[in-house]
Symmetry: C2
Subunit: 431 residues, 2 copies
């Protein structure tokens, strides 16, 4: 990997057993065996028709910082996690292997080999938790976001759920939601780290701070101009809209409604705004929206959505439940044999088959060494992410990933975009 | 607050609108009004009977690091979030107000004033997202963990869900689960940050790495001794246990079963281990356990549980849905008036009433300035956390919080500990 950065080490974002496995494997030489670990989801969350890959770029950053400095070694020594020989090995740890993965914004299905790590057992086994934490979180959020963005159509969604999840998960969630098709975020740290455009105006606290709604509107407009979003549901919405237009004039940018039956209220607000001459004033709705609520508002005069809790908690599926499984040792496939959790051995790759019209028909997962003949409309899915420990050049940007998803969703059979519970949009075929 | 530490600033873990509210409030002087913000949950997650407070100590750490250094100011300037006057104000931001809150490990109910922030509007409004992110996450995890620990009784639970949630949420989740009653964690960073005892032995990858199950067991025992946990379900469990005892002898520490119908398998394993003379070998079960699965295993010969996904995702309730509401301005109560989201104004405190037997009977939430007469068996719930910007001395330790919860759960009416859906264990009474 590239040299240490000033970031804090990510090396202890790791489960204890990864290091005891390493220690044990160092005793009999098995630690040096060539291994392939594969990340995949055995199934999609209940009733979901597709998953969205996100997190690869965050993983590659975390991998660069995965180093056992003196601070980590001292901690492991003080708590007797592993013996001195293992600590010596960890102190010089650098990942020198290869990683391939589905690019961010790509769709995945049950059994898709979303990430493949090739290295010695020792080098690869210690990455399990870091890899899974990042992919399980980010894929869960991006998958939920994509359903919401699809339901919203051309109407933009602002992500505003940071307060409903861990303070750093919030930052990653904003990024994953952006890949999923959200337009902007309220999260300032996501603005800083990822360049995502941030948005926000006022909360109810600002309204209550002032003696009257009018005073609050005036203060807001004085600072933010008339092209701002006034929050009109603190007291009486009809009176609030009257006041909003009186104070801002017909140039008013938007009103936000955050409570009540927002469909009905949006219709009434549209009529009232039009009657008052504020025909260009937009209507933003928020308040416990999820993909189903957004879909139910399709026919209503809503211009933008604010979505919080539902997206940052994966809308019922807060984790993608991906696993990191050893599939090959010294070139030979391996797999667990017990009944309920069968895995398929061997290093794999995948391609997606499409009709000439561009509609996806199946996900073909195959042994990496024996790819099927690629048809004219097939697409190989994994890309090289790391080679010999070095992060690949020219990886997709965040915008690329967002665009990739947009195109991928268009390629699904139409049933695949339905919000109702159903089977995966295309079958996974194992070759 | 205390002087800056070397930690990265937490100041941008903030929603855009907090700064635009600040900017607007600075224009008309309302920014300097004395305000009280209150954190509470309007309701518990569906069917839950109590919530568990966690996160306060993490919040106080994050508050110390909530400073707008040049890096944050430059970012806000470059993205035009707020004007220069507001940036000047932020550059010298220090929280100088007071914070009271329910101590970690305390129970909460709908409307419990879990945290109260008293400061100028300007100082308090910018903390909304940081406060809520930490409390919503940590309370959700601790609440789920408490149900699992109650179901497990005296059997220990190891938290092993780091891989199913964001990599830093994982660390906080391990801490919250510990408050909730879990015994140990797999997460090494939680061991470092919070001193929680970490545990782990091997995964299936270690078994598959070796040519035979026996070779894997031998390598593990050579390094970790016979008082270790052998994973016996990679191939055939009966054969695995035979091999385990043959290799480790009757001194074998434990076996772990991670798949299948773990109740039936545990019973068979117990009989087999006893027959083989390994009567002291413990049985650890894991694999998609939640509080209901744990409860269903009560009668089975299980010695310890490993819990992952369910605890780190809050077992169906990944966020506590707490809100941060302005309740008082310049000494006068304020509250939003709209129908669906009514709030109660005024700075509040709370006490919990108990029968002479110690059983809790009600949560009394009252105006802070007019406390009801405390009965002999009542307990005032909030404690001072910050005074004049300084973090209070002698705050409860992590062990204190864990003990507090243990005592608090014993005080609930017996229905309150049922896992089934129901009403809050005690009513909240507003005075």
């Amino acid at each position: 990997m590239t040299p240490p950065t000033s970031s804090p080490s990510t090396a202890l974002l790791t489960d204890h057993y990864e290091l005891t496995m390493l220690a044990s494997a160092l005793t009999d030489g098995s630690a040096e065996r060539d291994c392939v670990f594969e990340v995949f989801a055995r199934r999609l969350p209940d009733g979901r028709r597709y998953g969205v890959v996100a997190g690869a770029a965050r993983l590659l950053e975390a991998l660069v910082d995965f180093q056992f400095t003196d601070a980590e070694i001292d901690q492991l020594a003080a708590t007797n996690v592993v013996d001195d020989d293992t600590l010596d090995w960890l102190a010089s740890y650098r990942f020198t292997g290869d990683i391939d993965g589905y690019p961010e914004g790509e769709l995945y299905f049950p059994g898709s080999p979303v990430l493949t790590v090739r290295a010695s057992f020792a080098e690869a086994v210690v990455l399990e938790t870091l890899v899974l934490s990042i992919l399980n979180h980010d894929c869960a959020i991006a998958s939920a976001a994509a359903r919401m963005a699809a339901a919203a159509g051309t109407r933009p969604i602002i992500e505003m759920g940071g307060r409903r999840t861990h303070e750093y998960a919030a930052v990653a969630a904003a990024r994953a939601a952006y890949i999923g098709g959200f337009a902007t975020t309220s999260n300032l740290e996501a603005g800083r780290r990822y360049g995502i455009s941030t948005r926000g105006t006022v909360a109810h606290a600002f309204m209550l701070l002032h003696d009257t709604e009018e005073a609050a509107f005036r203060a807001q407009i004085e600072k933010l101009g008339t092209d701002t979003t006034l929050l009109v549901d603190t007291y009486d919405i009809t009176a609030g809209i009257d006041t909003a237009v009186r104070v801002a004039g017909t140039e008013l940018g938007a009103v936000r409604i955050d409570s009540g039956d927002v469909g009905v209220l949006a219709r009434q607000a549209r009529q009232q705004l039009d009657r008052l001459g504020a025909r260009d004033a937009r209507i933003v709705v928020s308040g416990d929206l999820d993909e189903h609520a957004i879909a139910a508002l399709r026919a209503e005069p809503v211009d933008a959505y604010g979505v919080g809790t539902a997206v940052v908690t994966g809308s019922g599926a807060p984790t993608a439940n991906m696993v990191y499984k050893l599939v090959e040792v010294d070139g030979k496939p391996v797999a667990k044999r017990s009944e309920s959790k069968e895995s398929r051995g061997g290093r794999k790759s995948a391609l997606r088959r499409h009709k000439p019209t561009g509609t996806a028909t199946e996900e073909v997962v195959h042994q990496a060494t024996s790819p099927p003949d690629p048809g004219e409309h097939d697409r190989v899915l994994p890309i090289p992410l790391v080679r010999g420990g070095e992060v690949a050049d020219n990886l997709p940007t965040l915008e690329d990933s967002r665009q990739r998803l947009r195109h991928a969703l268009v390629s699904l059979p139409w049933e695949g975009l339905k919000l109702s519970h159903g089977d995966p949009a295309i079958p996974t075929v194992f070759r």
